[in-house]
C-alpha cells in the first residue's frame, strides 16, 4: 500500500518506501532458527554456532524480543543473550547476558554495538533489527547484482545516531523481485569502503522469503565471515516465557 501510494506521484518509489517494503518481507510473528558462522582469517577458521528465537510484540508487531543461545565455541557454550528491542527510537532496548561460568544474569547496555560480533566481520549492530527510520534512505538508481536487477539505496544514519554506528553510510542493493538484500557496502567514518556483505540462499519458508546465507568480507583485514541460517521456522506460536530473564539460566 505504501509503495502504491508513493507510486502515484512518482515514476520510481522513494528510498524509504523501498526500505519499508523490504522491512515488510518478514512479517512473521515469531521465528526460530539455528545459525552458524565460519570466520576465515587466512587459513585459520573460527566456528560459531547458535540457536535463536524471535517474537514480535506491540501494536504493529514492531517491538521484538530475541533470545540467542551460543552452542560453539566451547568456551561460550550456553552463554545466552536476551534483548527486548523497541521500535520507538526514544526508548532504550533492554539487554541481558547470561554467563554460565559466573552463574550470573547481567543487564548490559547497547554500548558495545560497534564492537565485533563474536570476533567476526559482523559488528553487533549488524545483527540487530535496525528500524527503517534509523537512517535516511535515498534511491540512487538501479544496478544488476549477480544478474538480478536491484534498487541501489544509500542509507545514512540520522544525525543523532551517528555516534552509535561504525558507518558513515551503507549502500544497499535491494532485489526488485523479492525486496531482499543482494549486497550491502559499508562505508567507514572517513567515507571509505569498510566491508561488503553479499546475500543469497534465498528460500521461501512458511510463505516468507528468507535470506539463509550471507558473506561479510573486510578486505582491509583480509578476513571474511560466512553465515548460514538453518532449521528456520516461522509463526510457531512461541511462548512468552521463552523471552524472560528467568529462562536464561541453566
Amino acid at each position: 500500500m505504501i509503495l502504491l501510494t508513493a507510486g502515484i506521484g512518482h515514476a520510481e518509489p522513494a528510498g524509504r518506501d523501498i526500505m519499508l517494503k523490504a522491512d515488510e518481507v518478514d512479517n512473521s510473528r515469531d521465528a526460530v532458527m539455528s545459525s552458524k558462522m565460519v570466520i576465515e582469517r587466512g587459513s585459520m577458521k573460527l566456528v560459531r554456532s547458535m540457536e535463536s528465537m524471535t517474537r514480535q510484540y506491540g501494536e504493529n508487531l514492531k517491538d521484538e524480543r530475541t533470545l540467542i543461545r551460543f552452542v560453539e565455541p566451547a568456551d561460550v557454550h550456553d552463554t545466552a543473550y536476551l534483548t527486548w528491542a523497541y521500535d520507538d527510537p526514544g526508548r532504550e532496548d533492554d539487554m541481558w547476558l547470561y554467563l554460565p561460568a559466573e552463574n550470573l544474569v547481567r543487564r548490559i547496555s547497547g554500548g558495545g554495538k560497534k564492537g565485533a560480533f563474536m570476533r567476526s566481520d559482523l559488528a553487533n549492530e549488524d545483527i540487530e533489527d535496525r528500524a527503517v527510520d534509523d537512517d535516511e534512505h535515498t534511491l540512487k538508481g538501479e544496478e544488476e547484482v549477480s544478474g538480478i536487477a536491484c534498487y541501489v539505496i544509500e542509507s545514512i544514519p540520522r544525525p543523532e545516531l551517528k555516534k552509535d554506528t561504525n558507518y558513515s553510510k551503507r549502500v544497499q542493493y535491494i532485489r526488485k523481485d523479492l525486496y531482499l538484500p543482494a549486497k550491502i557496502d559499508f562505508y567507514d567514518k572517513r567515507g571509505k569502503i569498510l566491508k561488503t556483505a553479499t546475500f543469497g540462499g534465498y528460500k521461501e519458508i512458511d510463505g516468507i522469503w528468507t535470506v539463509t546465507r550471507f558473506l561479510y568480507e573486510t578486505p582491509r583485514r583480509k578476513t571474511r565471515t560466512l553465515f548460514q541460517r538453518s532449521n528456520i521456522s516461522y509463526n510457531q506460536g512461541l511462548d512468552d516465557a521463552l523471552f524472560l530473564q528467568s529462562n536464561l539460566t541453566r
Binding site: 539455528s34 577458521k45 560466512l226 510457531q236
Partner: protein
C-alpha cells in the same frame, strides 16, 4: 580432547616446574591450527548460479562456498516433542602462580574440567528446553606447589563442583542440588550475595572478584503475573538445608591472614586456647533462606531481597573456662552466628552505559570488638551500599567503576570504622581483531582496607586456546581486607584448551 587423559596421567609425581613446562611444551608443540594473514581462498560470490529455489541471482546457490563447514544441523534442538539431549564440554588448563616477594610458586594447578548436561521429557513448545535437565560439573586438579604449602590442598583432587536437577514447568521452575547462585547487580562487591561461601583455596578469581563454592540448595522460581508497566516479575525462594561458611585457611596457606597467624602463634605460645572453627552442622536447624522478589519495570531491573543465615566469615568468641587445678584459661573460638539481611538491588541500561546499585541493611550483624572484652564480638546494625556505572567508549574500551559505602552503628569499640568506603574498577580494551584483551581491575579502599590491582592480558588463539598472563598486587596495612595479603603479590600464567 584426547590429549587430556594421557597428559593428566603423566602429571602425577613430577615436580611443579617440570609439570608446568611439560604441559606448556606439549601444548605449544601441537600442530598450528592457523596462521592469520594467509591469503584468502579464491572463492567469490560474484556469479549468478543455477537456482535451486527457482530464484535467479543467488550467488550461493551451488553450495561451493558453504560446503563442509556447514553440514546440516539437526533440527531437533529447537523442535517440540519428546527429547533426550546430552552435552559434554570442558577444558584442560595449566594455571601457575609465582609469589613475587619470595619467588615461590604458590600454585601450579593443572586441571581437567568436565561438565555435562542432559535434558529429557516432552517439550511442549517449540524452542523450549526439555522440562527436566541435569547439570553436572567436576574436575581433577593437581597442584603440588599449593599442597606443599598447607593442608588446604591435596596434590591431586577429584571433585564434584555443581550437580543439580532443574524442573522447568509453565509458570515455575525448581532447581535442586549443589549449586552456585549469585545474587546482586554490583561488580566485585555484592552486599546481598550471601549464600555461597568463598573458595578458601582460591579466594580471588580476579583482582576484583572472589571465587565461590557451591552448596546444596533448593531454588524455586515462580513467574508472577504482570500488568501495566511491569514487563517481568519473579519470586525466587532459596533454601539451603545446612548453611555453608568460609573455611579458615590452614597454617602455611598463601591465603592465611596475618591476624589468624598471630592468633595461632598465641595459641602455640600458650597464651590462650584457639579452638577449632565451629561451623553449622545441624541440617535444617541451621538452614539458610533467601527470598528475592524481582521485577522489570520500564527498563529498570528491581529486586527486593531478604536473607536469614549464618555469617560466612567467622567472629572469634572469647570465653574464660576453668580448667584442671582451678586455673582459668581464655578460649578463643571461631564461630558463625546467625543474622538477617534485607535490601534491594537495581540495574538500568542508559544508552551506552549501565547503572547498577545495591543497598543492604544487616541489623544485629555480629562484628568483632577491638579490645579484649568478652565475648569478643557484639551485634550492631550495618548498612552497605554500592553504586556503579559502566560504559563502552569507542568500539571496545570498557570502563566500569563502582563506589561502595559501609556504615557501622555504634562502632566505637569495634574493629570496623563507622564509615568505610572505596571503589571497584575494571578498564579493558581489545586488540588484534579482538583476539587480545588487556586491562586493569581491582578494588581500592579509602578507609584502611588497602587495595588490589591486577593488570592482565589474555589472548585467544583460534576457537579453543586461551593464553593469559596477569600481575596481581595487594597493598595496605595488614589489618586491611586487601592489605593483609601484601606479601602475596603474584604473577599468574594460564594456558587453557576448551573442548
Amino acid at each position: 580432547m584426547k590429549i587430556t587423559l594421557p597428559l593428566v596421567g603423566r602429571c602425577t609425581g613430577v615436580s611443579a616446574f617440570g609439570l608446568t613446562m611439560g604441559l606448556l611444551v606439549l601444548l605449544m608443540s601441537l600442530p598450528a591450527v592457523a596462521r592469520a594473514g594467509d591469503p584468502l581462498p579464491e572463492t567469490g560470490p560474484n556469479d549468478s548460479r543455477v537456482p535451486e529455489n527457482g530464484i535467479t541471482g543467488d550467488p550461493f546457490a551451488d553450495d561451493s562456498l558453504f560446503s563442509s563447514d556447514f553440514a546440516s544441523d539437526s533440527a531437533e534442538a529447537l523442535s517440540s516433542g519428546n527429547r533426550l539431549r546430552l552435552d559434554v564440554h570442558g577444558y584442560v588448563e595449566s594455571r601457575n602462580r609465582l609469589r613475587l616477594g619470595d619467588s615461590k610458586l604458590i600454585s601450579t594447578r593443572q586441571r581437567l574440567w568436565l561438565e555435562g548436561q542432559a535434558g529429557f521429557g516432552i517439550v511442549e513448545n517449540v524452542g523450549a528446553e526439555p522440562p527436566f535437565r541435569v547439570f553436572v560439573s567436576g574436575a581433577i586438579d593437581i597442584d603440588p606447589s599449593a599442597a606443599d604449602l598447607s593442608d588446604d590442598h591435596d596434590t591431586a583432587r577429584i571433585y564434584l563442583e555443581e550437580a543439580f536437577l532443574t524442573v522447568d514447568r509453565p509458570g515455575w521452575n525448581a532447581v535442586i542440588g549443589r549449586k552456585i547462585h549469585r545474587i546482586g547487580t554490583g561488580d566485585g562487591i555484592n552486599p546481598l550475595d550471601l549464600i555461597n561461601p568463598v573458595d578458601y583455596r582460591d579466594p580471588f578469581a580476579t583482582g576484583r572478584s572472589d571465587s565461590r563454592l557451591p552448596v546444596p540448595m533448593g531454588l524455586f522460581t515462580i513467574n508472577l503475573p504482570v500488568w501495566g508497566a511491569f514487563q517481568e516479575a519473579n519470586l525466587d525462594v532459596i533454601v539451603v538445608p545446612l548453611a555453608k561458611v568460609n573455611r579458615l585457611n590452614s597454617p602455611g596457606s598463601a591465603w592465611e591472614p596475618p591476624g589468624l597467624q598471630k592468633l595461632r602463634a598465641g595459641h602455640d605460645a600458650g597464651l590462650y586456647i584457639l579452638e577449632d572453627q565451629v561451623k553449622p552442622d545441624q541440617v535444617f536447624d541451621q538452614a539458610e533462606f533467601e527470598v528475592r522478589l524481582a521485577a522489570t519495570l520500564s527498563g529498570w531491573d528491581l529486586s527486593l531481597i531478604g536473607f536469614y543465615g549464618y555469617l560466612d566469615s567467622p567472629v572469634f568468641s572469647r570465653e574464660y573456662r576453668t580448667g584442671t587445678g582451678g586455673m582459668e584459661k581464655l578460649y578463643i573460638t571461631p564461630i558463625h552466628p546467625d543474622y538477617s539481611a534485607f535490601g534491594f538491588a537495581f540495574a538500568k541500561g542508559l544508552d551506552r552505559s549501565t547503572l547498577r546499585g545495591e543497598l543492604a541493611v544487616k541489623p544485629d550483624l555480629p562484628v568483632m570488638k577491638n579490645d579484649d572484652s568478652l565475648p569478643g564480638y557484639t551485634r550492631t546494625t550495618v548498612m552497605e551500599g554500592v553504586l556503579g556505572i559502566d560504559r563502552t567508549f569507542g568500539t571496545n574500551l570498557y570502563v566500569n567503576l563502582q563506589y561502595f559505602l559501609i556504615h557501622t552503628s555504634e562502632a566505637e569499640n569495634l574493629i570496623s570504622d563507622t564509615w568505610a568506603h572505596g571503589i571497584t574498577y575494571d578498564v579493558h580494551d581489545t586488540f588484534f581483531q579482538d583476539d587480545l584483551e588487556a586491562g586493569v581491575r581491582g578494588i581500592v579502599g579509602f578507609t584502611g582496607q588497602g587495595l588490589s590491582l591486577e593488570t592482565y592480558a589474555e589472548y585467544q588463539l583460534a576457537d579453543n586456546w586461551l593464553f593469559q598472563g596477569s600481575l596481581l598486587f595487594f597493598e595496605g596495612s595488614e589489618s586491611g581486607i586487601y592489605g593483609q595479603f601484601d606479601d602475596n603479590d603474584m604473577v599468574t600464567l594460564r594456558v587453557r584448551y576448551s573442548f
